[in-house]
């Protein structure tokens, strides 16, 4: 059992309310870093000094927030209205168990039983604004004693490993998988340069934390660790999956917010080839990660992105390959160990 992934995915940290996961990560890294601090946005930023070989600062970003819900109203019957924090397919919500507020009150996103549906309702999608979280309260007063408007709600999913420990399911691999990988990097041997590890907030609502972390980091290069949706379900047409689970680390070239630094990307691929670490090019086009903000911070930072492919992103249960997870740690580590200022220097 991968304890790091279990602890991180079972912790709560909906965008804007990342305290629980931040404290957990702080405790997991405190013995391995030279200093750590929390900035105005709530990003946890740790420094691990290098061996002194190169005068260079490399920022490694992994966002620690997850998608979730926010309570907007409590109705007269004690049911909780809510809105989304981060992007959802409404269909993923019905019938799911959530924990609400700092006291982790258990609730369920109620759905009318199929017995009670009219035939015309079978093919309709229930929209989020018609859904309620039911915490078993019988009145507005009873609910208000436990939950306040403005409380966050997060999914409850136990981490499990399947398939002889090669596959994992759980919530929020996007992006606790990236956080776990970054923690492993911090626990390894020192790099030839200073590492600035940023566990960032509010990625899911618009890359907000990374903007501030990158501005403050004054880094010479940046590597972003992510979990990207694997769209690899069976398809009869000859169209490629964007990335496939189990086929290696996904390497970004272009998404809707960035064109990755071509020299950095070439270095990553050469490293993967040389060390036999499986990787796959993520289909260029849509999507966006913290790299979009980091690359443009200050006077610009050469940046690249690596991701673990994950199925069912932004639902209460995701699935990843633990081989891909181990390989992102290996590829990020090998890439950094061989990174020199010359690779990113321009005359």
């Amino acid at each position: 059992m991968n304890d790091l992934l279990k602890q991180l995915t079972e912790a709560i940290g909906v965008s804007g309310a990342e305290k629980e996961v931040r404290l957990l990560i702080r405790d997991l890294i405190a013995d391995y870093v030279d200093e750590w601090s929390v900035d105005a946005m709530g990003n946890l930023v740790a420094i691990r000094r290098g061996t002194g070989q190169y005068d260079m600062r490399v920022l490694i970003d992994a966002h620690m927030d997850e998608v979730g819900l926010l309570i907007t109203d409590i109705d007269s019957g004690g049911m909780l209205k809510f809105t989304n924090v981060g992007g959802f397919d409404d269909r993923a919500l019905l019938g799911k168990v959530v924990q609400v507020g700092p006291d982790k009150i258990t609730g369920v996103i109620g759905a009318r039983a199929i017995h009670l549906l009219k035939s015309s309702e079978y093919s309709k999608v229930v929209k989020m604004d018609a859904m309620r979280i039911d915490i078993g309260a019988k009145s507005k007063e009873a609910a208000s004693a436990k939950v306040k408007v403005g409380d966050y709600a997060a999914f409850v999913t136990e981490y499990e490993e399947l398939d002889s420990d090669r596959t994992a399911i759980g919530k929020a691999f996007d992006n606790r998988a990236g956080c776990a990988a970054l923690i492993e990097l911090l626990r390894g041997e020192r790099y030839p340069f200073d590492l600035v590890a940023a566990f960032t907030v509010q990625e899911e609502v618009g890359l907000r934390g990374a903007r501030i972390a990158a501005f403050n980091a004054r880094a010479d290069a940046a590597l972003v660790l992510e979990c990207t949706p694997a769209y690899d379900l069976p398809n009869e047409k000859d169209v490629s999956p964007n990335v496939a689970m189990g086929k290696g680390v996904s390497v970004y070239i272009m998404d809707s917010r960035t064109i990755q630094d071509p020299r950095f990307v070439a270095h990553i691929m050469a490293t993967g080839d040389a060390q036999g670490i499986p990787y796959q090019v993520r289909q260029p086009g849509g999507g966006g990660t913290n790299t979009g903000m980091i690359q443009r911070a200050g006077a610009g930072i050469p940046a690249a992105t690596l991701a673990v492919p994950g199925r069912y992103a932004h639902t209460p249960t995701m699935m990843i390959s633990l081989d891909d997870y181990h390989n992102i740690v290996r590829l990020a580590d090998a890439t950094l160990r061989t990174l020199t200022p010359d690779i990113l220097r321009r005359a």
């Binding site: 090019v281 260029p284 086009g285 006077a299 610009g300 050469p302 321009r346 005359a347």
Partner: protein, 338 residues
């Protein structure tokens, strides 16, 4: 002289440089501007920054950033089929109706022809993802390019009387204006000038934003193309090819600094340069990013009117180009009393 100018336009418009892959452009421009620079740097994102110090003893020198973008729109391979055809995504604003039957060129010289999926309605235009590129391969194995490779649209430069046509006037013609202005400026310039040949404009003015954050200019001027309203059934716009460079007042991304607009008009009038005022409904330039970078700057744009923007046959008028160069030199050499 005119032939030398056309040679420069041909060289720059035919060079390879989709957004994010501007290395060849930078290598071409650098030796052309080196003789006029006090200092040349390339920043993290790849912007080429040519710095020219204000002459010693000058009163009131301002830090002025002039930006012309080196990148062009293009495509990137997103998938290779078993039979060796390429599916692709856009780099910047690529419109489906400009694609079918067009040609693209990859950095390694591979030429591709753009085809599209079967259409049952001859009047319908397929979206981008129903087009493909045929590079003459028969399988994934013998395909000379791979997923993630970028390509430019491929079309030669043509001189058609006063009209000049090429696939990437946007914004290689702005680069030409900047290079030519550097040549014409005297050794002793009035202000602290940063000529920036920027990257990644077409995907969201990303290069100029970073460059401006590094430079922190007081005044910033973009050099870019703008649309015209002078062709049949055009969307109404009071800019025409051949009526002189356009001084931008507003576009969809920024409102130019009103004082800087007045200054540009005064300089044009004093130098006898015919000009037009530009209000552009759709689109923006590096000036948008420069205006808001760091603590902000007084931003404006000298536009070169251009027909058929973001098609393989972008067309400008040679006289407008000359006017833009003269206007830029006149603005940079005077007092910045905006």
């Amino acid at each position: 002289m005119e032939n030398a100018m056309n040679d420069l336009i041909r060289t720059l418009t035919e060079a390879f440089g989709p957004s994010g892959f501007e290395d060849a452009m930078r290598d071409l421009i650098r030796p052309l501007v080196e003789p006029y620079a006090d200092e040349i740097t390339v920043d993290s994102l790849g912007n080429l920054i040519v710095h020219k110090n204000a002459a010693a003893g000058n009163k009131n020198p301002q830090k002025v950033m002039i930006a012309a973008h080196m990148d062009e729109i293009g495509v990137m391979v997103s998938h290779i089929t078993e039979k060796g055809f390429l599916r692709f995504t856009n780099i910047g604003g690529v419109f489906s109706h400009t694609l079918l039957g067009g040609r693209v060129r990859f950095a390694n010289g591979t030429i591709g022809v753009i085809g599209s999926d079967r259409s049952d309605d001859r009047n319908a235009i397929h979206p981008l993802n129903k087009h493909f590129i045929d590079v003459g391969a028969t399988s994934r194995e013998d395909c000379p390019v791979r997923v993630g490779d970028s390509a430019q649209f491929y079309r030669p430069f043509e001189v058609r009387g006063r009209h000049l046509t090429a696939k990437s006037m946007d914004d290689r013609i702005g680069c030409v204006v900047a290079i030519e202005a550097l040549r014409r400026l005297p050794e002793a310039v009035a202000h602290d000038l940063y000529f920036v040949f920027s990257v990644q404009e077409e995907v969201g003015t990303r290069g100029a934003e970073a460059a401006a954050n590094g430079i922190m200019p007081d005044v910033s001027i973009a050099l870019d193309v703008t649309l015209t309203g002078d062709v049949p059934e055009a969307r109404p716009m009071d800019v025409s090819l051949g009526d002189g460079p356009a001084i931008k007042v507003k576009d969809s991304g920024m409102i130019a600094h009103a004082g800087l607009v007045r200054l540009m008009r005064r300089r044009a009038e004093a130098a006898g340069i015919e000009y037009q005022l530009e209000v552009l409904d759709g689109g923006s330039t590096d000036a948008r990013a420069m205006q808001l970078a760091g603590p902000g700057s007084a931003a404006g744009c000298i536009s070169i009117p251009c027909r058929y923007v973001h098609t393989p046959s972008e067309t400008v008028d040679a006289g407008d180009v000359e006017g833009a160069i003269r206007l830029l030199v006149a603005v940079l050499q005077g007092e910045m009393d905006y």
